[in-house]
Amino acid sequence: MLKSLHENKKVQLIIGLVLGIFFGFFLQKGGVTNYNIIIGQLILTDFTVFKVMLSAVIVGMLGVYLLRSLGFAQLHLKQGSIGSTVIGGLIFGVGFAVLGYCPGTAAGAVGQGSLDALFGGVVGMLIGTGLFAAMYPKLQRKILNKGYFGDVTFPQLLKVNPWVVVITFAILLTAFLFWMENIGL
């Protein structure tokens, strides 16, 4: 039943839209579509972004691994390499601070009326992704595959049952959130 749902392209477009509406709603209610809150995180005066992201990761991880163990979901991992993940990540980080939004929160910021996110952020991202598409063949040959390590997960790397890592991460990340609250962040 799930497979036929996954293959129904039209229904999937509607599900994507509905999930997106919830995503935008939660991002906005969490405060992370707000420039001031994102910059506050990056200059370490406001820890809302970490709190939202880490609690999403803890809850998401427990549920997705449970769905996987029950046979209702499979993982979709991204390939990684030093040349792609590290260099791209650092460029992204600089853009994150210069713009003050990331791609998803920029879309959310547009929804709450932030015109800098629309005319600066969205227009800039369209130019930036277009530039990347133009340079892709060259980057692919020269940089993106340097230090390739593929789509390995921590449980595979440590050669243990995934649940060992899931439970450990859940405890460590929760402890980290409690610690942040305790020291007043």
Partner: protein
């Protein structure tokens, strides 16, 4: 109580995060996909380029991997705009604004300066997201929750680059 939540200006960050975590279950279950945002911008960029240069754009190697069409993730990003609009309208914080207050407090109210900087930031962000193969959603939430090594490295690099650049912008240029 539930209704009050819809009209609140801001939730506890933990509550918003937990809701996003639960939402990710539904993305895997109903769509067999992790939540992500940046490929929607790639596809749109390709669609715009196609308007000017025609169907040969489809032959670019990158657009063979990410065809310039409206797909699930494109609809998701459209949904994000709508969802944030609904949320901010219900709480009354929706406001057309050109220059955010934290920016204005350091660099003034100049519209052209803010737009120029935001445009440069957007270009770096779009370029870097595709270079890294994902953004704060695709790597930062969906990839990390799957315990992918690549996504945890990306997450660390996003914030390493972000903290360094924000420190430079606000404490050195603005200080």
């Amino acid at each position: 109580m539930m209704l009050e939540l819809l009209f609140m200006e801001q939730w506890s960050p933990y509550m918003a995060g937990i809701c996003i975590g639960v939402l990710s279950w539904f993305a895997f279950l109903l769509s067999d996909k992790p939540i992500g945002c940046s490929t929607a911008f790639t596809r749109t960029s390709g669609m715009i380029e196609r308007l000017f240069r025609g169907s040969k754009v489809n032959e670019k190697p990158y657009y063979k991997e990410f065809t310039p069409t409206v797909d699930w993730e494109w609809m998701l990003v459209l949904g994000v705009v709508i969802g944030a609009f609904i949320s901010s309208s219900l709480s009354g914080v929706f406001q057309l604004q050109w220059v955010p207050s934290t920016w204005a407090a350091t660099f003034g109210n100049s519209l052209s300066l803010r737009l120029l900087v935001a445009l440069i930031g957007g270009i770096l962000l779009g370029f870097g997201a595709r270079w890294a193969g994902g953004c704060t959603s695709g790597h930062g939430i969906s990839g990390t929750l799957q315990l992918a090594v690549s996504s945890w490295i990306a997450f660390i690099c996003f914030f390493a680059g972000g903290l360094a650049a924000a420190f430079f912008i606000f404490n050195i240029l603005g200080g």
